[in-house]
């Protein structure tokens, strides 16, 4: 039992960066923009977010306030990702460049920028960029009082996580409410399904696409920061967060473009990422656990296309540029 609880809590923590990456990408894809640059934006968010916390602490010294550092890291990562997404949005929406190619270019550019900033900080600061242990606790420990965390079972399962897990859940739920329960969300989905129809109905297609891509990129980038500050231990290492962004793209498909499903999907994917540490099966090599998220995603993709359930399809205009003049 305690083994299972430990596995679930670890899965939730590992899944939190994915949750941000996925929810941001869902917002972007719901507007019809398939932004394959998630990996790049998450890299940028990771490096810039770490930098923000690090330089804030360096400037203020021991007086550094933990909550403020967390807030700064979130803001910096969001802005970095939003800027990356802005490039993508300008190229694909205004200049009508091919979305796949632009997304891949952003992935290359963003990983480059992330690595570059990370390396530059490392060289400038004498080979090591890490926030103090004092400050780390604000990023990695539970914000709830010890008494709540000590409740058997429930304490571990509900109150033991770092602040980003709770924030991620809030963002995902708000995103779900926005997409499914508000007029603006309905318009956004209309833009993603059929931009020409939405345009004819008087919806400003360009504005919806721009805003959702940029905000979505910002949210995804926060996931990169969360990865660096929690899973990677508040240090920039050379590997960065290789693969996390692509996994987020997979998770978007797995949860069929629903932020609610992303909640448990991210826990499942997070669990599969760490399962090799905790569960050894005699008939299945542990190294293969890491490809399971992609395998199940492919299966989901195939099943949805075969069953042709209209509720569970990709947004109809996903990946296509909208040419008003060429209707």
């Amino acid at each position: 039992m305690s083994w299972l609880i430990a596995l679930i809590t670890a899965a939730v923590v590992t899944g939190a960066p994915l949750l941000f990456g996925t929810v941001g990408e869902i917002l972007s894809e719901k507007s019809g923009n398939l932004n394959l640059g998630v990996e790049g934006m998450m890299f940028m968010g990771g490096a810039v977010g770490l930098g923000a916390a690090f330089y804030y602490e360096k400037a203020v010294g021991a007086a550094a306030s933990g909550p403020l550092a967390v807030l700064l890291a979130i803001l910096a990562a969001f802005v970095a990702g939003a800027l990356g997404a802005l490039i993508y949005a300008f190229l694909t929406i205004t200049l009508r460049a091919n979305q796949n190619v632009t997304g891949l270019a952003l992935a290359i550019f963003g990983t480059g920028v992330g690595q570059y900033i990370g390396e530059l900080m490392r060289v400038k600061e004498g080979g090591f960029v890490a926030v103090s242990n004092e400050l780390k606790t604000y990023f990695q420990n539970s914000p709830f009082p010890k008494a709540l965390q000590d409740i058997p079972v429930v304490g571990g399962l509900v109150f033991s996580y770092n602040v980003f897990v709770y924030l991620g859940i809030i963002v995902a739920v708000l995103m779900g409410l926005y997409l499914n329960r508000t007029r603006s969300g309905l318009y956004l989905r209309a833009v993603g399904e059929s931009p020409a129809t939405a345009d004819a109905a008087g919806i400003n297609v360009g504005r919806y696409k721009y805003l959702s891509t940029i905000i979505g990129g910002g949210i995804s980038a926060v996931g990169g920061m969360v990865y660096i500050m929690t899973t990677a231990g508040c240090v920039w290492n050379h590997e960065g967060l290789s693969g996390e962004g692509w996994l987020a793209v997979a998770l978007v498909i797995f949860c069929l473009w629903s932020p609610y499903r992303a909640l448990w999907g991210s826990v499942l994917f997070g669990g599969l990422m760490i399962l090799y540490l905790r569960l050894v099966l005699p008939f299945f090599p542990t190294q293969l656990y890491k490809i399971l998220p992609y395998v199940v995603t492919v299966i989901v993709l195939i099943l949805t296309s075969m069953r042709n359930n209209r509720e569970k399809q990709p947004p109809a205009s996903l990946g296509l540029a909208y040419f008003r003049e060429e209707r």
Binding site: L95, L104, I108, Y116, I253, K290, M306, G319
Partner: protein
């Protein structure tokens, strides 16, 4: 009249008539120069002189024989994979799984390098590896093509996922069944010399193969019936169907060919460049090559030039790191900026902007022109 004038937007777009090729390339070269200026700014931010930086890139990639060879080594897989992707993109089949198809091809070729090297002489062995690489990459590409043809499964997302499945599998082979003895290194043994591609001019002979492939692909896309079918399916699937073409079959055949070429690139990387197999054998080439193919307008000859630029940047950035302490990841940034500018400039080739204020002038000009 007056009311309608108020409603004209500030900037309108109109599709251009075909621009002259010289003007097209003028715009593209201007975009490249602008991108290099922005890249220079990035070099300046890290505290180095941009001009000295670019000089280091050029000298570091082309100046010495050994550096030039390394640049060619970067160039081979990039061009080969861009050629592989061209027919898919022509068909508007967004195959972004070249990364995985390279890895699958490399894996199949490696099987023969590891377990058949002592039973076959060099030339037959290399031929078998070549064919194994092609079939491996082709089959890996055929899976998403089959589902696309049969049920319309989204190929962009499918091919993307296939990358990480095969890369993860190779990682497993590397640390498991194919790990070299004694265990613990998480590496596959170096190939027997029989299984390594011979060198021509100091670089493994893959460069000859890809250069031949440039002509073959140009011919295939432009002068064969299959190339024509690909173009028709890309323009309009309905037209192709009315013309009696077997669209699902064309999709699967094209993807098999594309995957097979990527697989051959994988074979060349394993056998020629690395003399072994590891999970990072494709190292992002599959993704960069997509941008190469697209920027070249799917023209095989233009791909040669664009691959060369990116290969020079990649090698030059290594020199930049060792000589001027600029992180080598700057090559990714400059590559990205270059791609952004070149993607953006296509817009100005295809459209012209009409400003609201200059509307009358434009109209007059048209009349004069007519």
């Amino acid at each position: 009249m007056h009311t309608s004038e108020h409603k004209t937007p500030l900037i309108r777009l109109a599709k251009r008539e075909q621009m002259s090729p010289a003007a097209q390339w003028g715009i593209r070269i201007a975009a490249i120069l602008l991108a290099l200026v922005v890249g220079g700014l990035v070099i300046a931010i890290s505290g180095s002189n941009p001009i000295a930086g670019y000089k280091t890139i050029v000298v570091g990639s082309l100046g010495k024989t050994s550096a030039f060879r390394q640049t060619v080594k970067n160039f081979i897989p990039l061009l080969g994979t861009a050629l592989a992707i061209a027919p898919c993109f022509k068909m508007r089949f967004w195959n972004i799984g070249a990364e995985g198809q390279i890895t699958a091809g490399a894996m199949c070729a490696t099987y023969f390098a590891l377990f058949w090297a002592d039973q076959l002489p060099k030339v037959p062995l290399l031929l078998v590896m070549f064919v194994a690489g092609a079939i491996g990459g082709g089959l890996w590409a055929l899976i998403p093509a089959f589902f696309k043809a049969k049920w319309g499964t989204n190929e962009t997302l499918f091919t993307l996922m296939m990358n990480y499945i095969i890369i993860g599998f190779v990682k497993y082979l590397q640390g498991g069944p194919w790990e070299k003895m004694p265990r613990g290194s998480q590496q596959i043994a170096q190939f027997d010399s029989n299984a390594c591609l011979p060198k021509v001019g100091g670089v493994y002979c893959g460069w000859i193969i890809v250069l031949i492939l440039v002509f073959l692909m140009f011919w295939y896309m432009k002068y064969t019936k299959q190339g024509y079918e690909i173009a028709v399916v890309g323009e309009s699937e309905n037209t192709a169907r009315y013309a009696g073409m077997n669209v699902p079959f064309i999709i699967m055949r094209t993807m098999f060919i594309s995957g097979a070429i990527s697989g051959v690139v994988g074979f060349m990387l394993a056998s020629g460049a690395n003399n072994t197999l590891y999970d990072g054998v494709a190292a992002g080439v599959g993704f960069t090559a997509i941008t190469v193919a697209w920027l070249a307008q799917l023209n095989p000859f233009a791909m040669v030039g664009i691959s060369a630029i990116l290969a020079i940047l990649e090698k030059g950035a290594d020199s930049l790191q060792t000589e001027m302490q600029v992180p080598a990841s700057i090559s990714d940034i400059i590559t990205g900026v270059l791609l952004f500018f070149m993607l953006g400039c296509e817009f100005f080739i295809n459209y012209r902007l009409i400003f609201a204020g200059s509307g009358k002038k434009q109209e007059n000009k048209k009349e004069v022109g007519a």
